[in-house]
């Protein structure tokens, strides 16, 4: 593990790009979470800005639509005083025949300091990171089914905020694990931080075979899987990524794997409920739970800005 090439890290071990929570050393994850602490209160000030990225240009490259994620990166960069340029690159640029790296080269020629990349293909951010010149940072904002590291980190921040430590926690990740880059990023981060019991819960068709090798236990019965959990992370059922009949119907899915008050009662009484958003109410989560006392779904959004600020402030110029 330590010997594998990790393009995220500089030769002295500092974070250069953020591409995946996989292979991210524990002290770096903890450092990012501590750095985020400093940024949480910036949102409460009369002037919601600090000058750390003043004069830097951050390009949001979204090859796949995501208004919410793009907005949180945009707010994070603006609160750090960066200039933000949003580019929604849809099929048109590919129709014109420009390759991914040509697009990046063109933007790099405009003196970009940082790229935030969302792409439907796994590995797109890695490819760009290996291509850019030294001093330019790349942050993966979601690539295919592979990784969504800032979501993984903000989930860790949220868990740490409510549960303080990881060494005694049972965490369940529920639903469409197959299509979920959030699930992969969470699992890598949780195991690195020393969480002893990580469970994935879902139907056989939506649990990829490789997850068992990631050091988690697999449950197909939700009630059993939630028994004694401290944290329940619900995943969005990704209809747009479903090819073929993996599920009978959304209604059937809700009956078996939708989080209701009754199912949540199997977890610990002080268990927290998380969701990366956007939620499909009545599909993977019941409104009573989503808006209930144990839900920390909206705090996740607030923490997400601070965590993205921490990542940007750490990788810039590294």
């Amino acid at each position: 593990m330590a010997l594998t090439f990790n393009p995220q890290l500089r030769s002295d071990g500092k974070l250069k790009h953020l591409l995946s929570t996989e292979g991210l050393p524990k002290h770096l994850i903890e450092g990012l979470l501590e750095t985020a602490d400093q940024f949480v209160s910036v949102g409460d000030r009369e002037v919601k800005k600090v000058p750390i990225l003043r004069g830097k240009s951050v390009f949001n490259l979204f090859f796949e639509n995501s208004t919410r994620t793009r907005t949180t990166f945009e707010i994070a960069a603006k609160r750090l005083s960066a200039d933000v340029i949003n580019l929604n690159i849809n099929a048109s640029s590919t129709t014109k025949g420009e390759s991914l790296l040509d697009t990046v080269d063109n933007l790099a020629a405009m003196n970009a300091d940082m790229f935030v990349v969302r792409h439907a293909e796994s590995g797109a951010a890695h490819l760009i990171a290996q291509h850019v010149k030294p001093g330019v940072a790349v942050i993966n904002a979601g690539d295919g089914r592979h990784a969504h590291p800032t979501q993984g980190l903000l989930d860790m921040y949220t868990i740490r905020h409510y549960k303080t430590a990881f060494h005694n926690l049972t965490v369940a990740i529920v639903g469409d694990v197959l299509h979920s880059r959030v699930a992969r990023s969470d699992i890598h981060a949780l195991t690195t931080l020393g969480c002893p019991d990580v469970r994935v819960i879902g139907p056989k068709t939506l649990i990829p075979t490789e997850v068992a090798r990631m050091g988690v236990s697999v449950f197909h019965d939700m009630a059993r899987g939630l028994e004694g959990c401290d944290v329940v992370i619900m995943l969005r059922l990704q209809n747009e990524r479903m090819n073929g009949a993996l599920l009978p119907s959304a209604h059937e899915f809700f009956k078996s794997y939708g989080l209701t008050t009754e199912k949540l009662a199997r977890a610990k009484p002080d268990a927290i409920v998380m969701h990366p958003g956007p939620m499909n109410r009545g599909v993977e989560i019941d409104s009573l739970v989503a808006d209930g006392r144990q839900s920390v779904i909206l705090p996740q959004v607030t923490f997400g800005i601070a965590v993205r600020m921490a990542v940007m402030a750490t990788v810039v110029g590294a």
Partner: protein
Amino acid sequence: MQLDAEHLVTELATRIGTLSDDTAVVGIHSGGVWVAQRLHQMLKAVPPMGTLAVTLHRDDFSRIGLHPQKKATDMPMNIDGRHILLVDDVLHTGRTLRAALNELFDFGRPASVKLAVLVDRGLRELPFAADYIGATMTLDASQELVLTNDNHHLRFDVRTRQLHKKTN
């Protein structure tokens, strides 16, 4: 030269005298916060007290980068129209103070800001002067005056600065 930090705090409190009711005490992390806590108590200042972690406004960010740390800015009161007593342990180049004022003004527009420091050690690089000073001394650039808080006992040490890592 031996500096008795505890004695200097008492000295500084005497020089400040009394604080008006519309004065808020704000300490700069880390040493300034310890001194501010003492002054706040000794001068019976109106709670709450504010703290500034100036890391996010430093001018050497692009050279030394951002380091994870636990200290954070906390301004639990409205500072608009208030008189601020800004407190630090050591006044040196003035760069920390520049960052602290910038950060302070992100929270509002105080009526006035006065500066209290335990020690003014000279070698200013920016045009600042303190309103209240515990002691004045001359150190050369390679020396660093460090305040430590050992179980609520404040102590000053003079250390030789590592030349590649300028921190003040």
